[in-house]
């Protein structure tokens, strides 16, 4: 029973990671591509982490590392996304829609 639940979470996580990657590959410009890896993957990784937690929860030792992974993921994903977007905007990377005017 527990194996079925774990498998469901792993498949769920895998599907969302895959969708995030497909989004990354299929979108036409840099700015829309950014959305895939920062978002769909958070839920993908989340699913894998829940599976990992359930699995190790049924073993003798309880591991809390998954909580930390979630925390660091939520702290670093917006920062890296922000830096890449800012750099792209600074270099005026081509976009499908009009770029906003620079305020510098």
């Amino acid at each position: 029973m527990i194996e079925i639940i774990i498998s469901v979470f792993i498949i769920f996580g895998g599907i969302f990671t895959l969708i995030g990657s497909i989004g990354l590959a299929r979108r036409p410009d840099f700015y829309t591509r950014l959305h895939g890896p920062t978002k769909a993957t958070t839920l993908g990784v989340g699913g894998l982490l829940v599976a990992s937690m359930i699995y190790f929860g049924t073993q003798e030792t309880i591991s809390m590392h998954e909580l930390l992974v979630t925390m660091f993921l939520f702290m670093t994903a917006p920062v890296s996304c922000h830096l890449m977007a800012k750099a792209a905007l600074h270099l005026r990377v081509r976009s499908e829609v009009d770029l906003p005017k620079s305020d510098k």
Binding site: F16, I19, I22, G23, R26, R27, D29, Y31, T32, L34, H35, G36, T38, K39, A40, T42, L43, G46, T61, S63, M64, H65, L67, L68, M71, F74, M75, A77, P78, V79, C81, H82, A85, K86, L89, S95, E96, V97, D98, L99, P100, D103, K104
Partner: protein, 165 residues
């Protein structure tokens, strides 16, 4: 009190560091409890110069509720974005939005920007120099004003209440 304030400039940060240390080592052995406490006290003290201001959480209960709300939103909106990406017939309407900020509190703006980036459909790109406008890129924006209003009510208001700014 003043001495205590100088020795422990960021009590919340210290507490978090201590918890993270214990979680990383996955133990509550006495040695790590002490070592973690030392690290948690020294790090904020050593980096005190980089901190703009002391962090005040005015409403911890609301902060917890906000965290749960954001986690829920991430889950729901992830599924929506997945649908958008997987539907080949759907033409997306990406857009840059200039979001007017109501606060210039460093930490509140940071938390808001991170929240916007984590909730699917939008990423925050840049804050202008006087912290009045946050530039957001939306993946599929139907109505710019509605998006701004939603972010304002759902995220910015509670954040400003939590930090009291």
């Amino acid at each position: 009190m003043n001495v205590l304030k100088r020795l422990v400039p960021h009590p919340i940060f210290s507490l978090l560091l201590w918890i993270v240390w214990l979680l990383l080592n996955n133990t509550i052995a006495m040695g790590h409890v002490v070592l973690g406490a030392v690290v948690a006290l020294i790090l904020p003290w050593a980096t005190a110069k980089f901190w703009a201001d002391r962090l005040h959480v005015h409403k911890p209960g609301l902060a917890l509720r906000f965290l749960l709300l954001v986690l829920w939103d991430i889950t729901v909106a992830n599924i929506q974005v997945a649908k958008l990406i997987m539907n080949p017939m759907r033409k997306l309407r990406p857009a840059f939005i200039e979001y007017p900020l109501d606060t210039d509190h460093d930490f509140a703006v940071t938390v808001l920007a991170a929240t916007i980036s984590l909730t699917p459909g939008t990423v925050s790109i840049d804050v202008n120099s006087d912290r009045s406008v946050l530039l957001i890129h939306g993946l599929d924006i139907e109505d710019e004003a509605a998006t701004i209003a939603e972010i304002k009510n759902r995220y910015e208001k509670p954040i400003r209440e939590i930090f009291g700014c």
